[in-house]
């Protein structure tokens, strides 16, 4: 088995009297796509939010490549190389593709006091990236994101993670609201990212999408891990659905 990239140990989270996570152990290895499945309220989102720094755990530890790390906010997570792509693709639709790609990490040019963005570099890099992830349509990097389709927006988010060489890309429902073709595009980007050395966590309600692309499936139910090494090649969708709902097979 490959080496650990991220290991979360004994992660617990309560919102007042409500327990969202009750001591979860979850690991992602180098160079793999993990499917994280579970019903509504199983704790998938909370687990991912803890990893991406938007929520802090009540208790538990996180290790990256064997070293204990502290993720207090999103900046910490990004600095550790963890990129999260949310379902409604967290882009600022009024801004251009290039400005979105570099948001928060804009390259500067000239004396620091002028705080001037290097827009030429931003646009050039963005143009190259769009081609690399397979957007063949001729879209200038200065186009506002509001002009893009849902699939293209997800592509921009993934391009951002690839460019900043994130070790771990977390995709939270990236195929929601996408058409068939666009979904295939996103899945293709995911395989490409893995093949170029990244690890990914894929959260989706649509198990069919998960089955097409992941190497391993982890299932959460009511805040606990109930299966963490399901190989999609040696099981069926129905079997996984039974693990998710906790209903034993009939007959």
């Amino acid at each position: 088995m490959a080496a650990d990239l991220v290991r979360m140990v004994g992660i617990a989270k309560s919102y007042g009297p409500v327990t969202a996570l009750a001591g979860v152990d979850f690991a992602v290895y180098e160079n793999e796509i993990v499917g994280l499945l579970g019903d509504n309220g199983a704790g998938k989102s909370t687990l991912i939010k803890i990893l991406s720094g938007t929520v802090s755990a009540t208790s538990g530890e996180i290790y990256m490549r064997g070293k204990k790390v502290l993720i207090r906010n999103t900046t910490d997570a990004i600095n550790l190389g963890i990129e999260t792509i949310h379902q409604d693709s967290a882009l600022v639709t009024q801004l251009s593709i290039a400005r979105n790609l570099f948001l928060g990490r804009e390259p500067l040019i000239g004396p620091p006091i002028f705080n001037r963005m290097d827009q030429r570099t931003m646009n050039e890099v963005a143009g190259t990236l769009l081609k690399r992830i397979g957007i063949t349509k001729d879209i200038p990097a200065t186009t506002p994101v509001s002009y893009l389709s849902g699939g293209e927006r997800q592509a921009v988010s993934i391009a951002r993670a690839l460019h900043f060489d994130s070790d771990l890309i977390v995709l939270d429902e990236p195929t929601n609201n996408l058409g068939v073709e666009e979904t295939q595009g996103v899945l293709r980007f995911m395989r490409g990212a893995r093949d170029s050395g990244h690890s990914l966590i894929f959260i989706a309600h649509n198990i069919h999408h998960v089955f097409q692309v992941v190497d391993r499936i982890v299932v959460l139910r009511r805040g606990k891990v109930v299966a963490d090494d399901v190989d999609p090649k040696s099981t069926t969708i129905e079997a996984v659905e039974r693990i998710i709902t906790g209903v034993p097979a009939t007959g």
């Binding site: 990004i78 967290a90 600022v92 009024q94 801004l95 570099f102 804009e106 001037r116």
Partner: protein, 333 residues
Amino acid sequence: MNLANRPGSLLVRRLTSTPEFLPFTLVVVLVVVFASLTPNFLSRGNISNLLAFTPELGMIALGMTVLMTSGEFDLSVGSVFGFTPVLMWTLFNEGATSLEVALLISLAVAVLIGFVNGTFVTRLKIPSFLVTLGMMMTIRGTALYTTSGFPQRTWRAESWLMDLVAGSFYIGEFRLYASIFWFLGFALVLGYILTQSKIGNWIQAAGGNPVSARARGVKVGLTKTWLFILTAFMAAYAGITSSIRVAAANPNSGTGYELEVIAMVVIGGTALGGGRGTIIGTVLGVFMLRMMRNGIVLVGVPGLAYNIFIGVTILTMMALQSYLARRHPSGAG
């Protein structure tokens, strides 16, 4: 009618999709209409007059543009416009300090007001409407109470500062005020910040999608707090400029300015909800409303009818912008 398939329509589309297109067109229309109705409109005296009072509201509008781009607005600007000159001239008239120090103190107080606004909005998560409404009444009340409602005199002062801020000089027979240069200077700096700088990218992102901006590591709260400070500073500076020009600091001055300024900014093409702002548009919006006020009086329409024109203009502009926005999905980038 399908415009997209007609030759040459690409240029038209690009032009009409810029947010500055409408205000620019209207400014041109206004100049033509007023100039044809009354020759006085383009007279030397009237243009000079227009350039004297336009920068005062204009400077507030510049600050408000950047603040609104970040998704907030400030109703206390009119009160700050009235209060800070009162404070400055009171300090000077009472012999407490020199005029220079009094200016610095009142600008510092404006910075503090902006800081309080920003902190209440970003830390306590109270909508800017409520916070700045409260601040508007607090500051106006302070100005009225401390002066018992009487204007502060300014004519005893002789200082290089007054010339620098709001002095005037003649080019030939044309009287030009220093404030127009301050206005243009501020417009250049803020236009640069909004379109070229990294901070500008953060400002637009904070207004466009604060949740995702925060997820990218953008310090949304801090950015907005600085913009509240900037807006209060601009309002204070504009108020001081005005007090020097009219030679009085009236605790009532600036009443109602907040809404007129927001109207200028929105007419200029800045989105009321944030995420998109244009300094060029605001400069056009400022000139448009000031020219209307001026032109209406010159043409002989009763001054009391002014608000009818402004109201109808705002409604028309919004309708046209919404029509254009539907033709071009996001207006413009």
